[in-house]
C-alpha cells in the first residue's frame, strides 16, 4: 500500500485497503469554520438530533473567514458559534488565524486522519496526515459519531526533481502543476509528492504544494515525512514506519517534472488552471495586491515579500493588503520588523484570517478592478464583484508588482 492507503487502512481497522473500496474510518480531528459552522450545527441538532459532540477535544471550531464581524448577520452567526462551542466544550479559536494554519500549528500530527468542512483541508498532507474537505452534513455526522465513510482514492505520484532558480518558489511549482494536470485532472484522487526537490523545501513550502491539490480536483495530498518532519515531532509517539510507502506500493500513474528551468508562473482569470509564464503577462495593470491566505501567508512568505518591499513604496494607484496566516506568524513578523517594512511601504495590515481570499470582507474588489494575490483561487467574483479579475502568483511576484502597479518579474528585485 502507499501512505494514503496505509493511513486509511489503520483508521478503518483493516489490514489492507484498495482504491475504490468504501470504508468506515475513525477520525482524529474534525474541524469547521465560520463559513459553514451554523449550517453544521443546524444539521447536527435538528436533522440528526445529536445532543453532544463525540469528543469535545477533537472538534475544532474557528472563527476566521469573516473576522471581525462586518455586519449584524455575521455577528449573529458568530454568536451562535460561541454559544454552541461553550455549551459543548469544543475547541474554539476566535482570533488565532486561518483554520488550516492553526490546525497545522496546534493540532495535526503525522499519520492522523482529519476531516473538515473546508476544501483546503488537503493541506495537512505536508506533515504526512491524511486530510480531506467535506460538506456540512458529513461534518455534522462526524461531530456526533467520530466516524465517516471514505472511498479509498487512487493515488497519482508526482515526482519533482531539480533545483528551483532564485525567484521561483513552491507556489510557482504548484501553479505550473495546476496548469498541466488541469482543474479536474485529479478529481477523486490523492496526489503524493516525491522526488529530490521535496527534501529541499521547508514545511511551509510543502504546505503550499499540498494546499492547492484541491484546485486540481484532488481529494487529499501526501508527502512522506522526512528528517525535517521527524525532528519537529521527535517527542511524539508516532509510527514512522506507517508513513513510508510499502515496497510494492501502487500508484495510478507517475508524473515526472524537472523544475530546474521553471519560470515564475501566474494563474489568470477566472480559472486556477489558466496558468501562464509570468513573462507573457508583464505590464498587466493591477489595482490591489494581497499577501496572505493558507497558501502563502506564513513567515517565509512574509520574509520574501518584505525583502522586496524594504525601503520601497507601493505604487500610488495600488493598494496592498497583508494578512498573516496566524497570530503566531504575525507576532514573529512583528519581532523581525517585517510588519514595519510593509507599513512603511504603504500596506494595510489585517488581523490573521481568510481576508481578501474569501471575498466577503477585507479588501473586496469593485467591478473592473484587478487583484494580484498569493491565495489559491481566482474564480469569477471570488474576491468581490463578478466583474473583477484575479491573478494568482507567488509572494515575490505580488510584492514586486505592487511596487510598479503592474505585473512584473520579481527577479529584478532580488
Amino acid at each position: 500500500m502507499n501512505i494514503t492507503e496505509k493511513i486509511i487502512a489503520k483508521h478503518a481497522k483493516k489490514e489492507k485497503v484498495v482504491p475504490g473500496e468504501i470504508v468506515e474510518v475513525d477520525v482524529d480531528y474534525c474541524m469547521a469554520n465560520d463559513a459553514t459552522i451554523c449550517l453544521n450545527i443546524d444539521i447536527f441538532k435538528n436533522k440528526f438530533g445529536f445532543k453532544k459532540v463525540w469528543d469535545p477535544a477533537k472538534v475544532v471550531f474557528l472563527i476566521e473567514h469573516q473576522l471581525p464581524a462586518d455586519s449584524v448577520n455575521t455577528s449573529e452567526s458568530h454568536k451562535k458559534i460561541r454559544e454552541f462551542s461553550h455549551a459543548q466544550g469544543v475547541q474554539l479559536h476566535e482570533r488565532d488565524g486561518v483554520c488550516h494554519q492553526v490546525m497545522f500549528e496546534k493540532y495535526v500530527k503525522p499519520g492522523q486522519l482529519i476531516v473538515a468542512a473546508d476544501s483546503h483541508t488537503c493541506s495537512y498532507g505536508c506533515l504526512g496526515a491524511f486530510s480531506t474537505g467535506m460538506g456540512s452534513t458529513d461534518i455534522a455526522a462526524v461531530m456526533g459519531s467520530g466516524k465517516t465513510w471514505l472511498k479509498v482514492p487512487e493515488t497519482i505520484l508526482v515526482d519533482l526533481s531539480g533545483k528551483l532558480k532564485p525567484g521561483v518558489y513552491a507556489k510557482d511549482v504548484i501553479l505550473k502543476l495546476c496548469g498541466e494536470i488541469t482543474a479536474a485532472g485529479a478529481t477523486y484522487k490523492s496526489i503524493e509528492f516525491t522526488g529530490s526537490l521535496i527534501k529541499n523545501l521547508s514545511i511551509s513550502e510543502r504546505f503550499t504544494l499540498c494546499n492547492m491539490v484541491v484546485e486540481m480536483g484532488g481529494k487529499s495530498a501526501m508527502i512522506a515525512p522526512d528528517q525535517t518532519i521527524k525532528e519537529c515531532y521527535q517527542a511524539q509517539d508516532i509510527d514512522w514506519k506507517l508513513l513510508q510507502p510499502d515496497a510494492d506500493a501502487k500508484y495510478e500513474k507517475v508524473l515526472k517534472y524537472d523544475v530546474s528551468k521553471l519560470e515564475p508562473q501566474v494563474a489568470c482569470p477566472h480559472f486556477v488552471d489558466n496558468v501562464k509564464n509570468l513573462k507573457e503577462l508583464l505590464d498587466t495593470p493591477i489595482d490591489q495586491g494581497f499577501i496572505g491566505s493558507c497558501t502563502n501567508g506564513r513567515l517565509d512568505d512574509l520574509r520574501i515579500a518584505a525583502r522586496i518591499l524594504h525601503h520601497k513604496k507601493i505604487h500610488p494607484n495600488v493598494r496592498l493588503l497583508v494578512t498573516p496566516a496566524s497570530v503566531t506568524v504575525y507576532q514573529r513578523a512583528l519581532k523581525e520588523g517585517l510588519i514595519d517594512i510593509f507599513l512603511e511601504a504603504g500596506a494595510i495590515i489585517n488581523h490573521p484570517g481568510c481576508s481578501t481570499c474569501w471575498g466577503a470582507c477585507q479588501g473586496v474588489m469593485a467591478s473592473g478592478q484587478t487583484l494580484i494575490s498569493t491565495a489559491n483561487r481566482n474564480f469569477k467574483g471570488r474576491a468581490g464583484s463578478p466583474e473583477s479579475k484575479i491573478y494568482l502568483a507567488s509572494p515575490a511576484t505580488v510584492a514586486a508588482s505592487v511596487v510598479e502597479g503592474k505585473i512584473v518579474d520579481p527577479r529584478r528585485y532580488l
Binding site: I22, A35, T36, L39, I43, K47, F48, H65, Q66, S71, N73, T74, E76, S77, A117, D118, S119, T121, G133, M134, G135, S136, T137, D138, A141, A183, A184, T187, Y188, G217, K219, F271, W358, G359, A360, V364, R377, F379, K380, G381, R382, G384, P386
Partner: protein
C-alpha cells in the same frame, strides 16, 4: 424537463457567492443562486427543471450551502460531464440525484429532456437523441434513495 445549461468548472462561489453565506435563512440565500453566471436564475428557475453542466461541476469551496440553495429552489437532478468531489458527496448527502453524462455538452439551454429511469435512458425530446444513463453505484444509490445521509444513518442504526 427544461434544461438550464451551464459550462465547465461551475464553482461553488458561482452557485452561492461568499458574501451571501451569512444571510440567516436558506430561502434568502437561494435568491442569489448562480447570480454571477445567470443573474435572473433564482427568479426564472421553476422547480423540477434540469440543471446541466460541463466538466467539473461544483468545484471549489466545500460549502454545502451550494447544493442546499439549489435544492431549496427545487433542483432534484443535476447532469454534467463530470462533478467535483465534495459537491458530489454533498449532493448525495442531501438526496439530490447526480447523473454523469459524457455527452452532457450536447444538451442546450431550453431543450426538453426526459429521464427514463426504468430503462436507464436520457431522451432529448428537442433533438430526438437518446443517451445511456450510467447507474450510480449501489452505495450512493442507497443514500440518495433514503433521502440523504441523515435518514440513511438513522435507518442503518
Amino acid at each position: 424537463m427544461k434544461v438550464w445549461k451551464f459550462g465547465d468548472n461551475v464553482d461553488t462561489d458561482q452557485i452561492i457567492p461568499s458574501q451571501y453565506l451569512v444571510l440567516p435563512t436558506m430561502r434568502e440565500m437561494a435568491q442569489h443562486t448562480l447570480e454571477p453566471l445567470a443573474p435572473q436564475f433564482a427568479q426564472q428557475y421553476k422547480a423540477g427543471e434540469l440543471l446541466v453542466g460541463g466538466h467539473n461541476f461544483g468545484c471549489g469551496s466545500s460549502r454545502e450551502q451550494a447544493p442546499t440553495v439549489l435544492k431549496e429552489l427545487g433542483v432534484k437532478v443535476i447532469m454534467a460531464q463530470s462533478f467535483a468531489r465534495i459537491f458530489f458527496r454533498n449532493c448525495i448527502n442531501l438526496g439530490v440525484l447526480l447523473i454523469e453524462l459524457p455527452e452532457a455538452n450536447e444538451l442546450e439551454q431550453g431543450h426538453e429532456v426526459k429521464i427514463d429511469y426504468t430503462h436507464a435512458k436520457i431522451i432529448n425530446k428537442t433533438t430526438k437523441k437518446e443517451y445511456e444513463m450510467v447507474p450510480m453505484s449501489d452505495f450512493f444509490k442507497k443514500i440518495v434513495n433514503s433521502g440523504g445521509l441523515v435518514d440513511y444513518l438513522k435507518n442503518k442504526n
